[in-house]
């Protein structure tokens, strides 16, 4: 029952934050809850609790492989959030802090859910909790982004529920007793009714793919990431998408066990490569550096999906990449948030010369750019290399070629935009704004920690992590 604490701690902290009366001290609940949560998560990763066979939730190898990452992401973001909320002291933060904590609890629940129904409920709750976070800024653009997020995300979540029902009916038709846990569904094997299984896979992939932001269901992403505060963007890009990806992996496990592995691999590969291509093309065109991060996120979701499609070692590499992408994205989102505040603008027309106005943030942004475009000492390089190697080993040369081509295009797009805002002469309006923004430790240290994590994962991946990814990949893809 220790794993229940991972869900209970943030939820209790959320209740605490809601009743806490002091605006100034309330944000400190975030790092406190984050620290406890991270400590619990790593302790449970090292000493995993036993998993009951028919339990509805539990810390199985897959949850073990990604949940600590979400904890770390939240902890570092929460430190930043304290500094951010101090800058934005004019806004009430009761709802914001509470929603962040509930979001952490629901993400932990969704990652640990062993039942299709529970997974859906948690994902739905997390989606709704994001809404107050997205319209924290209360501008017209923030409302528009929130509205699109609700409509597209709500439709996605509805489709995934329909898919869950189809999978349940598939099991029922195949003689199952209505047990919707993943272990029960997997053990049914090819007794599952095939037409319903196909319908379920299509709907679940579309539904959770929408949450994950795979093209062409990615349309909410640039708007939401562009308008949300940096902390929220980092948590969405690193936490929410991970939940959706894990959901797709778990469903894929069931569908593979039923003997439809060829179908899942083909569809995932198509979605993955298409997302990478769409994201790369948009990266070449967008003038807005916060939307750029969203397209980069779409691209990396494509990378994860391609990894999942390759199976076996590809899934291992995808789990590795989940860590790399989320933590590196954290650095990018937080430093981009700093630059956004310092420059008072968001497009290349308004922003330039940030190397003079916000030198530390600009440096972090450039380093993060190098990390996310897979330059060697950073983690993403190694995970993407592993995916390419797996593609060659399984004989999918064309997949590898398309994958590398999209990476190259994305590299052009990202560097074009980042150097355009870092270099050049600062705009006159931005100079006045930039003097108001001070790069305090609170807003500089968190992205630095993320960069450090990314570097550490690349140079010396801890063996504990490797073991958990091994176990998860073995569970998800039983082939040798």
């Amino acid at each position: 029952m220790r794993e229940l604490a991972l869900i209970a701690i943030p939820l209790l902290a959320a209740v605490g934050a809601f009743v806490w009366s002091k605006e100034r001290t309330r944000p400190w609940l975030l790092p406190v809850a984050g620290t406890v949560h991270t400590a619990m998560a790593f302790w449970l990763m090292a000493k995993p609790p036993t998993l009951k066979a028919d339990a509805w939730f539990g810390l199985d190898p897959v949850a073990r492989a990604v949940l600590p990452m979400v904890s770390v992401l939240f902890l570092v973001c929460s430190v930043y959030a304290v500094a951010y909320l101090r800058i934005r002291a004019e806004r009430k933060n009761r709802v914001f802090v509470t929603a962040l904590l509930v979001l952490l609890g629901l993400l932990s629940l969704a990652l640990q859910a062993q039942s299709l129904g529970l997974l859906w409920v948690a994902a739905e709750g997390a989606t709704l909790m994001t809404v107050p976070l997205l319209h924290f800024n209360r501008t017209a653009r923030a409302f528009e982004a929130t509205w699109k997020y609700l409509l597209v995300g709500g439709t996605g979540i509805a489709l995934s529920l329909l898919g869950s029902f189809c999978l349940g009916y598939s099991s029922l038709h195949g003689g199952g007793g209505g047990d919707l846990t993943f272990s029960a569904l997997t053990s049914q094997g090819d007794a599952l009714s095939r037409p319903w299984l196909v319908a379920a896979w299509v709907l679940l992939l579309a539904g959770y793919g929408t949450k994950m932001g795979l093209a062409p269901m990615h349309t909410w992403k640039p708007d939401a990431y562009g308008e949300a505060p940096g902390v929220v963007g980092a948590l969405l890009a690193g936490g929410m998408t991970t939940v959706a990806f894990v959901a797709i992996l778990r469903v894929k496990q069931v569908v593979d066990a039923a003997g439809a592995g060829a179908m899942t691999e083909r569809t995932l590969l198509a979605f993955g490569l298409f997302s990478m291509l769409v994201a790369a093309l948009f990266l070449l065109g967008t003038p807005d550096f916060k939307r750029m991060l969203a397209y980069s996120s779409v691209e990396h979701m494509g990378i994860l999906t391609v990894g999942a499609a390759l199976g076996g070692m590809g899934i291992w590499a995808a789990l590795f990449h989940v860590w790399n992408n989320s933590l590196t994205k954290g650095a990018l989102f937080l430093s981009a948030g700093n630059i956004r505040r310092a420059a008072g603008g968001r497009t290349v027309d308004e922003v330039a010369g940030m190397a003079w106005l916000a030198p530390r943030s600009a440096r972090i942004l450039v380093a993060g750019l190098l990390a996310i475009t897979a330059c060697p000492p950073f983690g993403p390089f190694f995970s993407e290399l592993r995916i390419v190697r797996t593609a060659f080993e399984t004989g999918s040369v064309w997949t590898a070629a398309a994958f590398l081509g999209c990476l190259l295009l994305a590299f052009f797009g990202l560097t074009r935009l980042v150097f355009a805002i870092v270099d050049g002469r600062p705009r006159a309006a931005a100079r006045a704004q930039g003097r108001l923004f001070r790069e305090t430790a609170g807003v500089i240290v968190p992205p630095l920690i993320f960069l450090g994590c990314s570097l550490w994962l690349g140079l010396a991946t801890p063996s504990l992590l490797r073991e958990t990814w091994d176990a998860a990949a073995r569970l998800l893809s039983p082939r040798p």
């Binding site: 129904g117 529970l118 859906w120 409920v121 739905e124 709704l128 809404v131 319209h135 209360r138 017209a140 653009r141 409302f143 528009e144 982004a145 929130t146 509205w147 699109k148 609700l150 409509l151 709500g154 439709t155 979540i157 509805a158 529920l161 329909l162 869950s164 029902f165 189809c166 349940g168 009916y169 029922l172 038709h173 007793g177 209505g178 919707l180 009714s193 037409p195 319903w196 319908a199 640039p222 708007d223 562009g226 308008e227 948009f282 065109g285 967008t286 939307r291």
Partner: protein
């Protein structure tokens, strides 16, 4: 038993088309609410003997989908002082014909998918698919926020209809999940509607176009 069940589901499918053809917001809200109430009666018809859980789901569905949510929507309509015309992005006749096509397609699809013997003669599966598609059409084809919410409600009704296939075997958590989802979703949407209105003085989502590539 199956006759009564099928009649109610056919009624729900008809209400889809009514919603698609309505040109005024109150009538769409009414169609969605009536459909919710019709669907709320279905769990009672499905079960041979009365079970308190099923009764609770039934009552809950009728109250929430038939009264609470329509009331919230009507209040938003009044509070925001919205013009009651629908302003379709997709014309009424095309959406009506598409909806009818989807209904026919759903019946054909329901015939093609393998069903358990106790569901073989019911319209549950075609009704669910038709309702989901019609909800989707309404969601995509109307410009006003409230009509999009109604489309979402109809979409959810379709999913609820599908969930009835599993009501005997799975715990009712999924059912509870839907109700929870609906209340919260509409609650949140209501707040957003309020905000949009305050910002733009209109509930026309076509004005929400500053974010685009």
């Amino acid at each position: 038993m199956t006759g009564g069940l099928n009649l109610l589901i056919a009624l729900a499918m008809g209400l889809n088309l009514v919603a698609l053809a309505s040109s005024r917001l109150p009538s769409v809200i009414r169609a969605a609410a009536t459909q919710g109430m019709v669907l709320g009666l279905l769990p009672l018809l499905l079960e041979q003997e009365f079970h308190w859980m099923v009764g609770l789901v039934s009552v809950g569905t009728v109250v929430v989908k038939g009264f609470v949510i329509p009331h919230l929507l009507r209040r938003a309509l009044r509070a925001a002082n919205i013009d009651r015309e629908m302003e379709p992005l997709l014309g009424f006749i095309p959406s009506l014909l598409l909806g009818a096509g989807a209904t026919i397609g759903a019946v054909a699809l329901g015939g093609a998918l393998p069903l358990r013997p106790e569901h073989a003669n019911s319209l549950l599966v075609p009704g669910a698919f038709a309702t989901v598609v019609c909800g989707f059409l309404l969601l995509m084809g109307r410009a006003k926020a409230i009509s999009q919410v109604c489309g979402y409600l109809i979409l959810e009704n379709g999913i609820f209809l599908f969930g009835l296939l599993l009501i005997r075997t799975t715990p009712l958590i999924v059912e509870a999940g839907i109700l929870l989802d609906l209340t919260v979703a509409v609650f949140v949407i209501g707040i957003i509607v309020d905000r949009i209105q305050r910002e733009f003085d209109t509930l026309d989502t076509r004005k929400l176009t500053s974010l685009k590539e």
